[in-house]
C-alpha cells in the first residue's frame, strides 16, 4: 500500500515537472518575413516562464543586418485557471544589408543548467526599388530614402559621389547619421551631411513628398569589380502632429518631436579596371586636364637656382595622383617638387589646379636641352589615355667669369645703404619772381581766373533759365509765330517748283498753321474743303497744273486771313 502511494506521488511530481518544463521555452520571431532592403523590421526573442532570462542577445547578424535599435525588453504576466505565466521579450530593430534569402540562425541560451534553443528561419529580402519604379498599388510610406549615384560605372581611381535623398511627407526638424570614414575597396574622400539642403516637391503615387539631398558621400575606388555600397541609417526627427500642447512645446524647452530611424538603401557600383598600356607618364590621373609649364629664367648663373613649374588644371581625381617622374639633364641638382593644391570637391569631382615646382640648381656652365614634360591621364569621357607634352626652352648656364661685363647685380632702392644725410643743393636759377608783399588772393591773374569762371557759371545758369523758360512757353511762341511761319512758307512757293513740291509746301504751311494756332477743322467751314482738295490733289500729282495750285494757295491764304480777323 505504501509502495503504491509512493508511486502515485512520484508520478504526480514527475507530471508536474514535465508540465513545468513544457511551459518553459524560448522563441525567436520576426515582425516580417518578406520585406525590402530599405525596410526596418523587429526581431523578438520571447522567454516564456523562464526566470532570470537574459536582458540582451548577441545577434551575430553583422554581415547581413544592421542593428538600428534595441534591445527593448518587456515583461508580461498572465493568470490562467489560477496558474501564473510570465513572458519576457527582447526586441531589436534591424535593417537588412543585402537582398536575398537571409538566415536568422538558431540561438542557444543556457539558463540555470537548462539549455533552450530557438528555431532558425529565413527572411526574404527584396532589392529596394528606385523611386520612379515604386509599386503604385502599395500604400506609400510617410518617409523613405533613395541613394543616387553620380555614375553607375566608374574606372578604378575615378572619383564619384553617392547622394542620399530623403523623401518625406512629414515635417522634418533635424536629421543625423554617423559619418562614414572607411569603406573597403574605396578611399572615402568626403562624407558631407548637408545643414541646409535645397528641396523640391514631387508627387509619387498620389502622395506629395518634399525631396532633399541630406547627405553625400564621395568615393574613389581602389579596386575593380562590382561593389555593394552599403545602406546608410539615418535618424530623422519629425514634428509630432495632433498632440496636445505641453510645457515641452515651449520653444525654451524645445519642440515636441519624435525620432524615426530610416535607412538609405544599398546600391551597387561597377568599378572597371583601367586599360593596359598606360605608359610611364601615367600615375593614376583620371579626368580632363590641361598642362602649363614655365621656367623662371632662360639664363642663370652657375650654382644658381631656377624654378620649373608644372601646373595641371581641370577636373578629375586631382587629389589622388602624383606627378610622373621627369628626367632632367645632367648638370642640375633637382629637389623634390613643392606641391601646391588649389582645388575643391565640386560637382562630384575635384575641380581646380595643382602645381609642382621643381628647384633646379645648375652645377656647371653650358646650354642644356630639356626633355619635354609629359603627363598622361585617362580621359573617362573618351575612355582612352591622353598624353600632354610641353617643351621647355634650352637653359643657358653661364660661368662667373662669363657673367662679368654682361650682367650686373641690381639693387633694390631699399638695399642701397644710406651713408649720411645732408641738405639738398641750392637752386641754380630763379623761377617765378613775385613782389615781397605778394598776396595770392589779391593776384590779378587769380582774380581774372576766378571772375572768368564765375561769369561762366552765371552764363550757364542764365542759359539754363532761358532754355527752361522757352520750353515752358513753346506753345505760346508757336501760337504767336504761326501766321509769320505760314506766310513765309507760302512766300517760298514759285512757279519754277514742281507741282508735287508746291502741293507739299501748301499742305505743310496750312497744317502747321492750324496746329500752331491749336485749331481744328470745325473753326471755319472752308477748312475741310481745302483739306479735301489737298488730299485729292495728292493722288494725281501728275495731272496738276500750276494754276490749280495757285488757286489752292490763294484759297488757303484767304482762309488764314479770315481766321486771323476772327
Amino acid at each position: 500500500m505504501v509502495n503504491y502511494k509512493w508511486k502515485i506521488a512520484v508520478i504526480i511530481i514527475s507530471l508536474f515537472f514535465t508540465v513545468m518544463l513544457w511551459g518553459e521555452k524560448v522563441t525567436c520571431t520576426a515582425s516580417k518575413t518578406q520585406f525590402s532592403i530599405q525596410e526596418q523590421i523587429q526581431i523578438t526573442f520571447t522567454f516564456e516562464d523562464i526566470k532570470n532570462s537574459p536582458r540582451s542577445v548577441d545577434l551575430k547578424l553583422h554581415d547581413t543586418f544592421s542593428i538600428v535599435g534595441g534591445p527593448y525588453s518587456s515583461t508580461s504576466y498572465s493568470w490562467v485557471n489560477g496558474k501564473s505565466t510570465s513572458t519576457n521579450k527582447i526586441t531589436y530593430d534591424i535593417i537588412a544589408k543585402k537582398s536575398g534569402k537571409l538566415l536568422i540562425p538558431a540561438y542557444e541560451f543556457k539558463i540555470k543548467n537548462q539549455v533552450f534553443e530557438t528555431a532558425p528561419f529565413t527572411l526574404m529580402v527584396s532589392k529596394s526599388a528606385k523611386v520612379d519604379a515604386l509599386d503604385p498599388t502599395k500604400e506609400m510610406p510617410a518617409m523613405f530614402m533613395e541613394t543616387v549615384l553620380s555614375k553607375n560605372k566608374v574606372y578604378q581611381g575615378e572619383t564619384f559621389t553617392l547622394n542620399y535623398r530623403l523623401f518625406t511627407s512629414e515635417n522634418v526638424v533635424n536629421y543625423t547619421t554617423n559619418p562614414l570614414n572607411t569603406l573597403d575597396g574605396f578611399i572615402v574622400d568626403r562624407f558631407d551631411l548637408s545643414n541646409s539642403p535645397s528641396s523640391s516637391k514631387k508627387v509619387i503615387n498620389g502622395k506629395e513628398y518634399l525631396i532633399a539631398g541630406i547627405a553625400s558621400l564621395t568615393l574613389t575606388p581602389t579596386q575593380s569589380g562590382e561593389f555593394i555600397l552599403p545602406q546608410k541609417p539615418f535618424r530623422i526627427s519629425v514634428k509630432s502632429n495632433g498632440q496636445s500642447r505641453t510645457i515641452f512645446d515651449d520653444p525654451f524647452f524645445g519642440t515636441n518631436t519624435k525620432d524615426i530611424n530610416i535607412v538609405a538603401p544599398a546600391d551597387t557600383i561597377l568599378v572597371l579596371p583601367l586599360p593596359a598600356s598606360a605608359g610611364p607618364a601615367f600615375t593614376g590621373a583620371i579626368g580632363e586636364f590641361s598642362m602649363k609649364v614655365s621656367i623662371d629664367s632662360s639664363i642663370i648663373q652657375e650654382n644658381q637656382a631656377t624654378a620649373l613649374r608644372v601646373e595641371l588644371s581641370g577636373h578629375g581625381n586631382l587629389e589622388h595622383f602624383a606627378f610622373p617622374e621627369q628626367s632632367f639633364p645632367d648638370g642640375f641638382e633637382v629637389f623634390e617638387p613643392k606641391v601646391k593644391n588649389n582645388f575643391k570637391l565640386k560637382n562630384n569631382d575635384y575641380n581646380g589646379n595643382r602645381s609642382w615646382e621643381y628647384v633646379l640648381i645648375a652645377s656647371k656652365p653650358g646650354t642644356f636641352q630639356f626633355n619635354d614634360i609629359t603627363f598622361t591621364y585617362f580621359s573617362s569621357k573618351n575612355e582612352k589615355y591622353v598624353t600632354l607634352r610641353s617643351p621647355i626652352k634650352d637653359l643657358r648656364v653661364v660661368s662667373h667669369n662669363e657673367l662679368e661685363g654682361d650682367y650686373t647685380s641690381a639693387l633694390s632702392p631699399d638695399e642701397v645703404r644710406l651713408l649720411s644725410k645732408d641738405i639738398r643743393f641750392i637752386q641754380m636759377e630763379e623761377g617765378k619772381i613775385v613782389d615781397l608783399n605778394y598776396d595770392p588772393v589779391k593776384d590779378p591773374i587769380n582774380w581774372i581766373i576766378y571772375y572768368f569762371t564765375v561769369i561762366f557759371v552765371l552764363l550757364f545758369i542764365a542759359l539754363e533759365i532761358i532754355w527752361k523758360f522757352r520750353m515752358s512757353n513753346l506753345k505760346q511762341i508757336r501760337y504767336k509765330n504761326a501766321l509769320k511761319t505760314a506766310l513765309n512758307r507760302f512766300r517760298m512757293i514759285n512757279d519754277e517748283q514742281t507741282a508735287e513740291h508746291i502741293l507739299f509746301e501748301i499742305e505743310a504751311a496750312f497744317i502747321e498753321y492750324l496746329r500752331d494756332k491749336q485749331l481744328d477743322e470745325s473753326v471755319h467751314g472752308d477748312i475741310p474743303g481745302i483739306m479735301k482738295t489737298i488730299e485729292t490733289y495728292k493722288y494725281a500729282p501728275g495731272m496738276l497744273s500750276h494754276v490749280q495750285l495757285n488757286q489752292l494757295k490763294d484759297q488757303a491764304l484767304v482762309l488764314i486771313e479770315d481766321i486771323e480777323k476772327v
Partner: protein, 261 residues
C-alpha cells in the same frame, strides 16, 4: 621837334628795357650768389642773396638758397627761417621739405606730438602742401570742367530726350563738394596766413619770460631753430610767443626772426 622825338624814343627804349635790364642784373646777382655758395664763401653768398631780398622781389628759390647758405654757415635758426619762407611760396617743393627735415634733426627742442586724428591730419597736410595760388587755380579749373560736363550732359539730354538727372546730380554734387572743400581750405589758409604769425628762435638759447621786462621770471628756455607762434609785439622790443599753444611767454624781438614779415 626832331630832338624831342629822339628824346622820346630814347626814353621809351629806356622805359621798356629797364625791367628787362633790372631782370638781367638780378639774374647776374643770383648767379653770383650761387657761385659764392659753390665756392663755399657762404658769407658772400648770404650778402648777395640778401641784396636780392632787399629789392622787394622774391622767389622760393631765393629763400631756399639763403636757407642753405645760413645752414652751411652754422646759423640753424636763420636757415630754418628762410626755408620756412620758401615753403610759404612753394609748399609742395620737396627740396625745401627735405632740408627742413634735416634741420629738425639738429634741433635741441625736440617735441614729439601725439598722432592727429586722421581727418585733421589730412586737412593739415592739405593746408601745408596746397599753395593758395594752386588752390585758386584748381577751383577755377574745377568750375570750368563742371560747367563743360554739365553743358555736355544738358546737350546730350536735349538731343536724345533721356533722363540724365542722376548723372547731372552726381557730377554736380562731386564737383561742388570738391570746390567747397578747396574753397574752405583756401579761406582757412588765407585767414591763418594773415592772422597767425610764426617766428624762429635765432639765438643758441633764449629765456622765455613771464613779463616783457628783463628781470621777469624765466618760464622756460628755447633753443635755436624752434618755431614759435607770435601772438603780439610790443614795438621792436618784445614779442609774446607761444610754443605748441600751451607754453606762453615773452621774448626779446631780436632773438627771433619772423617768417612772414
Amino acid at each position: 621837334m626832331k630832338r624831342m622825338i629822339t628824346m622820346s624814343i630814347v626814353l621809351l627804349i629806356l622805359f621798356v628795357s629797364f625791367p628787362y635790364a633790372a631782370g638781367m642784373d638780378r639774374d647776374l646777382l643770383f648767379k653770383q650768389g650761387v657761385s659764392a655758395y659753390v665756392g663755399e664763401d657762404y658769407e658772400s653768398a648770404i650778402s648777395i642773396f640778401r641784396q636780392l631780398v632787399d629789392s622787394k622781389k622774391i622767389s622760393w628759390e631765393l629763400f631756399y638758397n639763403l636757407g642753405n647758405c645760413y645752414y652751411r654757415n652754422g646759423e640753424l635758426g636763420n636757415a630754418i627761417r628762410y626755408w620756412e619762407k620758401a615753403k610759404c611760396l612753394a609748399p609742395s617743393q620737396s627740396d625745401i621739405n627735405y632740408n627742413l627735415l634735416i634741420a629738425e634733426k639738429h634741433l635741441i627742442d625736440q617735441v614729439v606730438l601725439p598722432d592727429m586724428f586722421p581727418l585733421f591730419k589730412w586737412y593739415d597736410q592739405m593746408q601745408k602742401q596746397l599753395s593758395l595760388n594752386i588752390a585758386i587755380h584748381l577751383i577755377g579749373a574745377l568750375l570750368l570742367i563742371l560747367i563743360l560736363i554739365l553743358g555736355f550732359i544738358r546737350r546730350d539730354s536735349r538731343l536724345k530726350s533721356k533722363n540724365h538727372k542722376a548723372a547731372y546730380i552726381t557730377v554736380l554734387s562731386v564737383f561742388l563738394s570738391l570746390i567747397l572743400i578747396l574753397t574752405a581750405v583756401t579761406i582757412d589758409t588765407d585767414h591763418k596766413r594773415k592772422n597767425e604769425k610764426y617766428a624762429i628762435i635765432l639765438e643758441r638759447s633764449v629765456e622765455i619770460l613771464s613779463e616783457p621786462t628783463d628781470d621777469a621770471i624765466v618760464l622756460f628756455i628755447l633753443h635755436e631753430g624752434s618755431k614759435v607762434k607770435v601772438n603780439k609785439n610790443i614795438e621792436d622790443l618784445w614779442s609774446n610767443i607761444s610754443y605748441f599753444d600751451d607754453k606762453v611767454g615773452w621774448i626779446s624781438r631780436s632773438a627771433i626772426g619772423e617768417i612772414e614779415e
